[in-house]
Amino acid sequence: MSDTSAPVTRKRFVRWLLGTSVGGLVAAVLYPVTRYIIPPKVGESAASSVTLPFPPTEIAKNTGRIFKFGNKPGIILRTPNGDLRAFTAVCTHLGCTVQYRSDLSEIWCACHNGTYDLNGRNISGPPPKPLTPFDVRVRGTQIVVSRKA
């Protein structure tokens, strides 16, 4: 009779177990190494909310600040009335980062002099569309900005 038809002894079983374990061990080492050397593509950030690294008290009336939302800039501002509002800070014309102009109480793009009102609506210059608004929630000393549902 051949070996294959021989009954499985305890010794043969242990040898088979050890042999496959070595293969598994090698695979367990090489797989993460391979994934490290050839990592998957990194997609666009899907962040849906962010906690800002500064408290609400740091945003005075009629001022604004840029923050990082995923890998794009956002702008949070406090209106002259004291409301907190946040929008994408990417100008809808050619994608420059907008800023808050306290002297105008408007959001302004320095690249081509585009302006948006305090609701994010494009009101002059070349921007074709409004800025996308975010939801703003104040939790104690934290500001949480999130995409609108």
Binding site: V29, L30, Y36, K68, N71, P73, N113, P126
Partner: protein
């Protein structure tokens, strides 16, 4: 369109209070006219229910006059004379008090504006009835508001509406003006934004020429017209040496370099030493300005290359699993600097452009350094990983050899015994 609406509304004005009560004679007009074989007579009756005037309760007699039908003594007009149409529409549309009842925000100066247009001047001063009147743009009996996508004056439809006459060589022949404006406009960046990117605020014919007061902007006015949207460029251009020079030579601002209807997206290729580049069209070899625009191009190219290089190294670092998101975030400001510098070209000053680029170079240098540091760290980790893997594989190989050695010894000892 509004003019026609005016016309309709104008006639209504005469009978304003009664208009909305739909006199029975209107129904009779429609009833008969719908049956007529002559489409010139039946079409108005079929179309009118879609007209904004019908929706406000105005009827045939409000514009065509007469109280009981074809009674010329009562003021019935079968087909208004084209020369009379502005006044006919203006009866209502120039009456602020009347128009308030229907649309308080609607302007009431269309007829006055029309009188300042080339169309209006030719109509009233030369009796030229071939020119556009209210109903040319706002077709009678099917007038829709500009917000209606089916309206002839909906932003997307305006070029075709103007082109209906202005792209017709036969119609334009007596005026000796070009007829390729529409074809040119449809190659422009403005049409691309409007038609492909859905930006209805992109300029169509009326944004530069006016609508009711349509006329070509004068040479001196071109920069002001473009500056309605492109204010940064207008301010820089106005302060530049080119502005006065252009006025002296009777050259229109903006248009001289960017064309008028075929305004293509500007590119850095305007600033090259080729005969057909925009700057080289005027500035010949040896001209000092040529040195300046080539210097500007060099500066812009330098930042673009630096930004591309920093972007590439940060992308590689990100792909390798390194945390560089903050550096990538900050690098976006280099794009702003590049765009501002491209706007600053309208100052025609190397120093002004260089000043805009300065912050961009600082950002790209910083980003490049952070990318290089991330890649260096990545390499260090890879080397460490290679050493660790070799050690682990060595241990595995050692265990395997040890197991074989044990087996070999066991076989050897069993044979000996």
């Amino acid at each position: 369109m509004r003019a026609l609406a005016l016309a309709a509304a104008g006639l209504v004005l005469a009978a304003a209070p009664a208009a909305a009560q739909s006199p029975p004679s209107d129904a009779r007009c429609v009833q008969c006219h719908r049956q007529l074989a002559d489409t010139n007579l039946s079409r108005p009756a079929r179309l009118f229910p879609t007209d904004i005037h019908a929706k406000f309760g105005f009827g045939c007699l409000d514009c065509h006059g007469g109280e009981t039908g074809k009674d010329s003594a009562a003021g019935f007009i079968a087909k208004p004379n084209r020369k009379d149409i502005p006044a006919l529409c203006g009866r209502c549309h120039s009456d602020a008090q009347f128009m308030k009842q229907y649309d308080p925000s609607l302007r009431v100066d269309q007829v006055e504006e029309y009188k300042t247009s080339v169309h209006g001047k030719r109509l009233f001063e030369f009796g030229d009835t071939n020119v556009a009147v209210c109903i040319s743009c706002h077709p009678a009996h099917e007038i829709r508001p500009p917000s209606d996508p089916e309206s002839t004056v909906y932003a997307l439809n305006v070029p075709a509406t103007c082109g209906h006459c202005h792209a017709d060589p036969k119609r334009m022949a007596p005026y000796h003006i070009p007829t390729d404006q529409l074809a040119q406009y449809k190659t422009s960046v403005h049409w691309e934004w409007m038609s492909k990117q859905g930006d209805l605020s992109a300029p169509a014919c009326n944004d530069c020429h006016g609508n009711h007061g349509a006329a070509p902007p004068g040479v001196a006015s071109v920069k002001n017209v473009c500056g309605q949207c492109h204010s940064t460029m207008m301010t820089l251009f106005t302060g530049s040496g080119h502005a006065d020079y252009f006025v002296q030579r009777d050259l229109p601002g903006c248009e001289t370099c960017h064309s008028n209807h075929a305004i293509h997206a500007p590119s850095d290729s305007f600033l090259v030493e080729m005969a057909d580049s925009v700057c080289a069209m005027c500035h010949q070899p040896g001209d000092s300005a040529r040195v300046a625009f080539l210097a500007i191009r060099h500066l812009i190219d330098s930042l673009r290359v630096a930004r591309d290089s920093a972007t590439a190294i940060l992308d590689r670092a990100q792909q390798a699993g390194m945390e560089v998101s903050q550096a990538q975030f900050e690098l976006a400001d280099a794009k702003d600097a590049l765009l501002k510098a491209r706007s600053a070209i309208h100052s025609f000053s190397v120093d002004t452009v260089a000043a805009q680029l300065k912050s961009g170079f600082a950002i790209t240098t910083h980003a490049e350094q952070r990318g290089a540091a991330a890649m260096h760290e990545h390499l260090f980790r890879r080397e460490g990983l290679a050493v660790a893997v070799l050690l682990i594989l060595g241990v595995i190989a050692g265990i395997w050899l040890l197991i074989r050695e044990i087996e070999h010894r066991q076989k050897h000892s069993s044979r000996s015994s």
